[in-house]
């Protein structure tokens, strides 16, 4: 193949002016580049500008950041997001790994693919739809698992959504919609482990538990950390779940429960775009740092 390419290149160069090829390349990337600038780079720069200026456009230093961080709602919101993340990430890492390994061990092909479909299907109900569905499930009067809720001593919707229950509730909703996609990805990664390696381990006397622990888990480690980092970045953005729950509970759940909601409140209730930009920028920096670390250190993605 390289030989052909080396032959082909001089021919192309002789026939065409050197600039032609890259000119066409620039045409191919032009629309995407324009979108990247308009909806990736410019908004980030504009938020950066707003976060360091005051309402009149004068330089404000760190004033916007100290203002939002010292806001009495900031620390509770950060705490809510942190406890949600702790529960969700632990559940995700443990359960997704276990389920992927178990589903991969199922030998009946139709059963294995049906299981993956069942786990994956809730992913179709993302965003507001899944939250709405879970509102039904959490209302003991209508819920199909109302008996289970009453068994836990929860007789009414208001009792279900007391503040202490919210982080696990949001974690359950997020797990229900998102876990299936990761199970399928992990399953794909498990398929990439060569059958010979597993066979050799079996001949050496390794049982299924040992194979899972000594061979499959180490092979999955990259994918598990990828899942953890992406979910951490996405989880800091928590918005739609508390927003809808706040609406459904007549503000028993406050509308500034999460950091993103607080940023929204700054922008739309207080008309303080500089404060909103400061919070958005804090969240964006977290997401950027996590994704950049992964692109350069993770070794999972092809960059050449």
């Amino acid at each position: 193949m390289t030989a052909v390419r080396q032959l082909a290149r001089p021919v192309a160069l002789v026939r065409r002016r050197p600039g032609t090829r890259s000119a066409t390349s620039y045409a191919f990337i032009s629309l995407y580049t324009a979108l990247t600038v308009a909806f990736g780079i410019l908004p980030a720069l504009y938020a950066l500008y707003l976060a360091f200026t005051d309402a009149n456009g004068g330089f404000a230093g760190l004033a916007n950041f100290t203002k939002v961080v010292e806001d009495f709602r900031f620390l509770p919101a950060a705490g809510h997001v942190a406890s949600f993340l702790a529960i969700w990430l632990i559940a995700l890492v443990l359960l997704v790994t276990v389920l992927a390994v178990v589903v991969h061990a199922v030998r009946l092909r139709w059963l294995s693919s049906s299981l993956r479909l069942i786990f994956y299907l809730p992913g179709a109900l993302a965003g507001a739809s899944s939250v709405l569905l879970w509102l039904f499930l959490l209302d003991p009067t209508a819920s199909p698992v109302g008996g289970l809720l009453r068994l836990l001593g929860l007789a009414s919707f208001i009792e279900v959504i007391v503040p202490a229950h919210l982080p696990p509730i949001f974690a359950i909703i997020a797990f229900w919609t998102g876990a299936g996609g990761w199970i399928v990805i992990m399953y794909g990664a498990l398929n990439n482990i060569s059958a010979e390696v597993i066979e050799a381990a079996r001949i050496d006397g390794a049982g299924p538990m040992q194979i899972a622990w000594r061979i499959q888990l180490p092979m999955l480690r990259k994918w598990i950390s990828y899942m953890g980092i992406m979910s951490l970045a996405a989880g800091t953005q928590l918005f739609v779940e508390p927003q809808l729950l706040s609406q459904a509970s007549n503000a028993v759940v406050p509308n500034d429960y999460s950091l993103n909601q607080l940023a929204y409140q700054y922008a739309f209730q207080q008309n303080d775009f500089n404060g909103a930009a400061a919070i958005s920028l804090l969240l964006l920096v977290i997401a950027l740092a996590l994704s950049a670390v992964f692109v350069w250190r993770g070794g999972l993605f092809e960059t050449d």
């Binding site: 193949m1 390419r5 192309a12 890259s22 066409t24 390349s25 629309l31 995407y32 580049t33 990247t36 909806f39 990736g40 410019l42 908004p43 504009y46 938020a47 707003l50 389920l99 178990v102 030998r107 479909l117 069942i118 786990f119 299907l121 179709a124 109900l125 965003g127 507001a128 739809s129 709405l132 879970w134 509102l135 499930l137 209508a142 229900w176 399928v184 399953y187 990664a189 398929n191 066979e199 299924p208 499959q216 739609v240 809808l244 609406q247 459904a248 509970s249 007549n250 993103n260 775009f273 930009a277 958005s280 997401a287 996590l290 994704s291 950049a292 992964f294 993605f301 092809e302 050449d304």
Partner: protein, 299 residues
């Protein structure tokens, strides 16, 4: 999917191992499946039946029809408008996404130009950022140019889809031999012809995959339209659900009145809001469930 004979897989052996695996799988099948099954059944019940009857006993067509009428009568047919808006935004974004990302992914994979690597790394970094992270900054930006409230304020940001460029890049760099393109060039094709006559006809699977992910993501997007569209007329159905929720006395007692929405009607709205995506999912299940997305990365 693997073609290895199933006997060579690490099976769970011994009755205790099988029993534990069986219990774990049963619990999680119920956990993932019950909500969906129950939601579908709930749409066929009356408000009273939903509370009184057995949760898994199907209702009747009469009640389904009544729920349907109540839903589509809500605010003089607002639901129809929301579904139409969702379709407009998702399809609009899909078309622009394909026009923008297929040629871009091709160029990054198979041509040489300055900033190629910069564009690739930038694409990866942005792809891994949760898409909600840029919503408020994009709002602030579009607000300063007066675009807020127009359909373009959601379609254009949704059309920026780095994941699609990355998928296309992986596809072209792994499954199209460069010799093929070189041969076409020797035969006198211009660079544009190499793309339209050689690469594009071979790209059908990746076009379908990018279209699938773009459509699902745009249809399900909540935060972006929620922030960009101030008026209910422009809502996509995902955001419209919040209006329905606000009019449901069961969750919001202050809303009891002329326009009140019963629980089964809200359940029907939830089903309708995800129906297109659910259908696409079922059609696409073969490649989804096979773990194909894992093939998009290097192992």
């Amino acid at each position: 999917m693997t073609t290895a004979p199933s006997g060579r897989r690490p099976g769970v052996s011994g009755w205790s191992g099988r029993a534990i695996a069986g219990v774990v799988l049963t619990i999680f099948v119920l956990f993932f499946l019950i909500p969906i099954v129950w939601l579908l059944l709930a749409t066929t019940k009356s408000a009273r039946g939903l509370v009184v009857d057995d949760p898994f006993e199907p209702g009747g067509f009469g009640d389904l029809a009544a729920n349907w009428h109540q839903l589509f009568a809500f605010q003089d047919g607002a639901v129809t408008a929301w579904v139409a808006n969702s379709a407009l935004y998702a399809v609009g974004a899909l078309v622009i996404t394909l026009i923008a990302s297929i040629p871009a992914g091709y160029a990054v994979a198979l041509t040489r130009f300055r900033f190629r690597r910069t564009l690739l790394v930038l694409t990866l970094v942005v792809m891994l950022i949760p898409n909600t992270a840029l919503v408020l900054p994009i709002f602030l930006e579009l607000n300063s140019v007066g675009l807020i409230g127009s359909p373009l304020s959601v379609i254009l940001p949704m059309s920026f889809f780095p994941f699609g460029v990355y998928l296309t890049y992986i596809y072209f760099s792994t499954s199209i031999p460069r010799d093929l393109l070189a041969a076409a060039r020797i035969d006198g094709c211009t660079e544009l012809q190499v793309f339209t006559r050689v690469a594009l006809p071979l790209a059908a699977p990746i076009v379908a995959l990018v279209a699938f992910f773009s459509f699902v993501q745009s249809w399900n997007n909540f935060f972006l339209p929620f922030v960009m569209l101030p008026s209910s007329d422009g809502y996509p159905v995902q955001v419209g659900l919040t209006s329905l929720l606000a009019s449901t006395p069961a969750f919001n007692p202050s809303s009891a009145g002329m326009q009140s929405v019963q629980l089964p009607t809200l359940a029907l709205a939830t089903v309708i809001s995800v129906l297109p995506v659910l259908i696409v999912f079922l059609f696409a299940q073969r490649f989804l469930v096979a773990g194909l997305t894992a093939g998009g990365t290097k192992e």
